[in-house]
């Protein structure tokens, strides 16, 4: 029983991080209906950015969040302008193919520069706290993961307010619902798509910066997070920001509970299987808006 409670507590904290990984895809795939197989690669770039700045300049990963977010926002806009804008109105097949190309390009570009070695950050504010624990009844909660999760939650809530409560967010949603009607009221759809790509890319990179405190940094880190993010977005009901949060918590708990009772190699397999099941039985997701 303690094992189960502990697994649930760990899973909820990981879920907060997964929410930030996935919410960028919620915007790009869920809201804007464009595919992005390279989603996890941007997270990996964020991880490498944080690792690089930490090793070369001695910056703490938490400080690198801001400059990396800005840079990756620009990268996302660039990807849209140079690549996705061209394929956006084409066949879905071409869109998938284009982002698969992007995936290979980014992943192996990093391999070419940094090799496939595993790298870790040894000293950071969060890893410095690694001994600290909170005790809640029988459950122990590690402070670093908790702090990371809370930072992710704060970014997430800021995004929710941005999308749900501001004129800009409404314009984004309007473009997602009816591109032509949005144009009629003076919204420039292509600018909205570019911003969506920038936001999505920056968010997943920030998630990578937080994750760098807990995971190894290597060029192949991205793909399983891409599938994880797709599973979460599908579970959360495509384009629902709060749905993404709920779904990410569910995924975190499923993963951590299966890891507690089954061989750890299978912890992702159940999440991926749940993607397939959700697609079959709840095509609108567990927390869909409709």
């Amino acid at each position: 029983m303690t094992l189960l409670l502990q697994a649930v507590a760990d899973g909820l904290q990981m879920g907060l991080l997964y929410a930030l990984v996935a919410v960028g895809l919620t915007i790009i795939w869920g809201l804007m209906e464009m595919s992005n197989f390279a989603h996890g690669e941007f997270m990996m770039l964020g991880m490498f950015g944080a690792w690089g700045l930490s090793v070369s300049l001695g910056w703490d990963p938490l400080i690198t969040m801001v400059p990396l977010a800005v840079v990756m926002y620009g990268a996302g806009v660039l990807v849209y302008r140079l690549l996705m804008q061209r394929v956006q109105r084409g066949e879905i097949f071409t869109q998938i193919f284009a982002t698969v190309g992007l995936f290979f390009f980014v992943q192996n570009g990093v391999v070419a520069i940094f090799t496939s070695d595993y790298r870790f950050i040894h000293q950071s504010l969060l890893t410095g706290l690694s001994g600290a624990n909170l005790t809640l009844g029988p459950v122990r909660i590690g402070v670093p993961l908790l702090v990371g999760g809370l930072i992710a939650l704060a970014v997430f809530l800021a995004l929710y307010l941005l999308i749900d409560r501001t004129d800009f967010g409404l314009a984004l949603q309007a473009t997602s619902e009816d591109r032509d009607a949005a144009m009629l009221v003076g919204i420039r759809p292509q600018r909205m798509y570019a911003v969506a790509w920038g936001l999505g890319t920056a968010l997943v990179a920030v998630a990578g910066v937080i994750l760098v405190n807990f995971f190894a940094v290597y060029p192949q880190a991205g793909l399983s997070f891409t599938v994880l993010a797709y599973a979460i977005v599908a579970l959360g009901g495509f384009g629902s920001i709060l749905g993404t949060l709920m779904a990410a918590l569910v995924v975190g708990v499923v993963q951590s509970v299966t890891a507690a009772y089954l061989p750890p190699a299978f912890k992702d397999a159940f999440v991926f299987a749940s993607y397939i099941l959700i697609g079959l039985f709840r095509p609108r997701g567990l927390f869909g808006r409709f």
Binding site: F37, L83, I96, A98, V100, G101, N108, F266, Y275, P283
Partner: protein
């Protein structure tokens, strides 16, 4: 005719002069070409993006290896067995996901690949990540080797080249038969207009499954060839991403949906990537995925250049220019 002659005679000078490496390049070209033909069925004709076909490559390799180890089955029987097992598994796992379209389907195929990885690494029946080793029993002559897929020392490169040639030709003939059959038309109808196809009574889910099973059979055959060539099956080798990307690249570079497209693509791509492996060899950029960066760039350029219609390098336009007729076909935006 000339092409057939070249294909048959290709390895002989190398066998004479002892540059057996080029026979292996030929083997890889044929293997990639046939896998590309297989991927073309689901990707080109049925229009579904399959990002995880290597699970059937692995299924074929493992099935034949298990049959050879435990029951001493002949390699060709193992090949048929591997194809049968792959088709059954493919039908069982694909039918559920055919409700999904577009990206949803594509991600489901990635998910299957991701699920297969821990299974391959931990399942005791297939010896987990320690892998399976196929018992070696070299045959006396080349001809006997063609029946057992085990060749006497120096004949291995030559033998596997001709084995791959045989399986490749069978695949090509099979694919041509499928293209001209009822199935081929149903696949393309589902690709071009799924709702319309259903309107005239084509069961789109059934034919997506059929298309993926055809692909699974081809990949299984390729996996069997590969396992007897390597004489071992390791999960990270048969589930490697290259078995996904190379067939797909071959199909797209040569022209998606065209019967000969993957063949042209493989003839162009494999020598390039082998050349890069050879020249980068011991240098600082060896093993840094330079070929995959180039593939990624090619993919993005092809996709961005012609986002509508079937993906391909603009062969028609280039051919037109060579013949002095000017651009054969204007690029569509």
């Amino acid at each position: 005719m000339a092409a057939a002659l070249v294909a048959v005679l290709y390895p002989l000078p190398f066998q004479q002069s002892g540059y057996i490496y080029y026979e292996t390049v030929g083997f890889l070209v044929l293997l990639t070409a046939m896998l590309g033909i297989g991927w073309n069925v689901i990707g080109g004709w049925a229009g579904q993006f399959d990002f995880g076909p290597n699970i059937f490559f692995a299924t074929g390799a493992y099935t034949a290896a298990l049959l050879a180890i435990h029951f001493e089955w002949n390699a060709w029987l193992g090949l048929l067995g591997g194809m049968a097992v792959s088709v059954v598994i493919c039908a069982a796992v694909t039918y559920p996901i055919t409700r999904l379209r577009g990206h949803y389907f594509a991600i489901a195929t990635v998910a299957m690949w991701m699920i297969a990885q821990p299974i391959g690494a931990t399942w005791e029946l297939i010896n987990g990540s320690r892998g399976l080793f196929i018992p070696v029993s070299p045959s006396e002559t080349l001809l006997e080797g063609m029946l057992t897929m085990q060749f006497p020392g120096r004949g291995k490169g030559l033998g596997f080249y001709y084995l791959a040639l045989i399986v490749f030709v069978l695949t090509l003939l099979g694919a041509r038969a499928v293209e001209r059959s009822k199935w081929g038309f149903y696949f393309r109808a589902v690709r071009d207009d799924q709702d319309g196809a259903e309107g005239i009574g084509i069961d789109s889910r059934l034919y997506k499954v059929v298309a993926r099973c055809v692909m699974a059979a081809v990949f299984a055959a390729g996996g069997v060839l590969y396992s007897f060539w390597a004489l071992a099956v390791f999960p990270d080798q048969v589930l490697e991403v290259n078995w996904n990307i190379l067939p797909m690249m071959a199909a797209v570079v040569g022209g998606l949906g065209r019967l000969w497209g993957p063949v042209v693509g493989a003839i162009i791509l494999i020598p390039i990537s082998q050349l890069m492996t050879a020249t980068l060899g011991a240098g600082p950029l060896a093993g840094r995925g330079i070929d995959l960066i180039i593939y990624g760039t090619i993919i993005m350029v092809i996709a961005g250049g012609r986002p509508n219609g079937l993906l391909s390098l603009p062969w028609a336009r280039w051919a037109g220019r060579l013949a002095g007729r000017g651009p054969g076909e204007p690029a569509r935006g």
